[in-house]
Amino acid sequence: MLVAPSTALAQPATSTPTPSSSAPIVYVNPPKSLIPEGRTLFSEDCETCHGVDAEGSYRAPNLQGLGAATIDFWITTGRMPLADPTVQAAEKPPRLTNQQAEAIAAYVTSLAPGGPGIPSVNLKTANISRGEFLFSEDCAACHTITGVGDALADNVFAPSLYPATPTQVAEAIRTGPGNMPRFGPGTLSNQEVADIVRYVEYLHAPNDRGGAGLGHVGPVTEGFVAIVFALGSLMVAGYWIGGRATR
């Protein structure tokens, strides 16, 4: 299996890598022809906070050199543009199209090269079992093993992975958005990232052998259902079986 050398992402090729059917992930930088459209969109939607040349401000971070994957992730998940920069950006229906996200990514990448391109994941050769192992090691601590997400410290949360597309999952792993750690090619190979993405895709419709998944949030809802329905029906049965004592 083809595995990228550990420095492959540090300086990604500016030209499109030749797509190979055996490559687990192909990183593509958006075409330069989109730069003019991206410049217009950036000035409309991003410049107020991120600055004219994406150099950042007291409100928002510097975007130079972060790469197309970062830009694409924040826009296509609907997190950007953001109304209130003081709270954690949440996933919502995106305001810009995928094409517009690519255009902005092309423009920002043209200002300063670097960072990974937009990944496209080959799920056919991915190993879901290996993905589950790696997910439990590197992801489940925050996102939980069912991918439903959980609270962290100081008003921060690990979001649910259910709305995420394969590309977005790979982008998040490689770029580490917000408080999420960044997993570079030295930590996880492209094949390993593809395995994890395959497992996250499986989580969208997991095989719930025990019956209803109850939102996959674990013992809290399960206990609630057990107490209300199981204990409740036991009480009704007890009321029917028993009789009032005669005085």
């Binding site: 550990s6 420095t7 090691e137 590197d138 601590a141 925050c142 959980d150 962290l152 410290a153 100081d154 921060v156 580490g176 917000g178 408080n179 999420m180 750690p181 960044r182 997993f183 570079g184 030295g186 930590t187 052998r209 025990g210 019956g211 029917w240 079986i241 009789g243 005669t246």
Partner: protein, 300 residues
Amino acid sequence: MTTSKVRPTSPDHEDAYDRPVIERLIAVSFTLSVLATVGLGVTYWLGGQPQVEGALLFVALGGIGVGIVAWGKYLVPQGPYVQERHELRSDDVEREAMHASLGRGLRQLERRSFLLRLLGASVGAFGLINLFPFIRSLGPVPGKSLFLTDWKPGSRLVTASGRVVTENDLEVGGLLTVFPEGYENSPMNAIDQVVLVRPATTDLVTRPGRETWGPKGYLAFSKVCTHAGCPVGLYQQLTQQLLCPCHQSLFDVLTGATNVFGPAPRPLPQLPLYIDGEGVLRAQAGFDEPVGPGFWERGA
């Protein structure tokens, strides 16, 4: 023994319900149970399906239960009935006879006091030997194991899969769980687990006296929470905090994993690192304090 109704029930009591209808319902209940049991057997035989089997088991057992309860509640004459107990105290003649019998036996035993003492000694010795499995069941004596981990001077850092960690493996904001080489699959590796983070690319000093511990921005801390021993694996890389999922203890990475919130009583012990000539991350030494929760012999 006398049996009497405390309060006479009306002779019409049993007819308060429509008996043929009740009988039919009970019959239906038992029949449903039989059908469900047959269905359960067939489903199991055909390879099984957990939800269907569960539902059929519910009907099979529930049918029996509902039938029995309804039978007892609606078709059987209702009490309450009282059965008088006989006198609990034995009469005086019996008590006198027993005292006399015990007294005779006691005198017989006391005549052979030497044998009686030997009997006591043998039973006592056997009782003592029974303490041995009890003591063993308390587990091995911890000895120095609470103070020591498998990290030695020069231990190479490896991942859970055994891959050696080199200086280019983590990007800024990266996280990795590592073990001392050779112990990644050890049954005792829970105390060896270390969370490796990289907040920067330049050497980091978390506290005075730890000037060389964080080469090229790599910091390594024991992953075992100092409160209750949970794995502290939640790394918030923007705020440089490590969070324990069990009781929300929060540790500030850049000041040496200082405990800043929650029940953890101490910072996470830091593992001193160095990078060897081949770029491989190694431990300068083991931890300079016991990892994990406090224990009696640890002291403050």
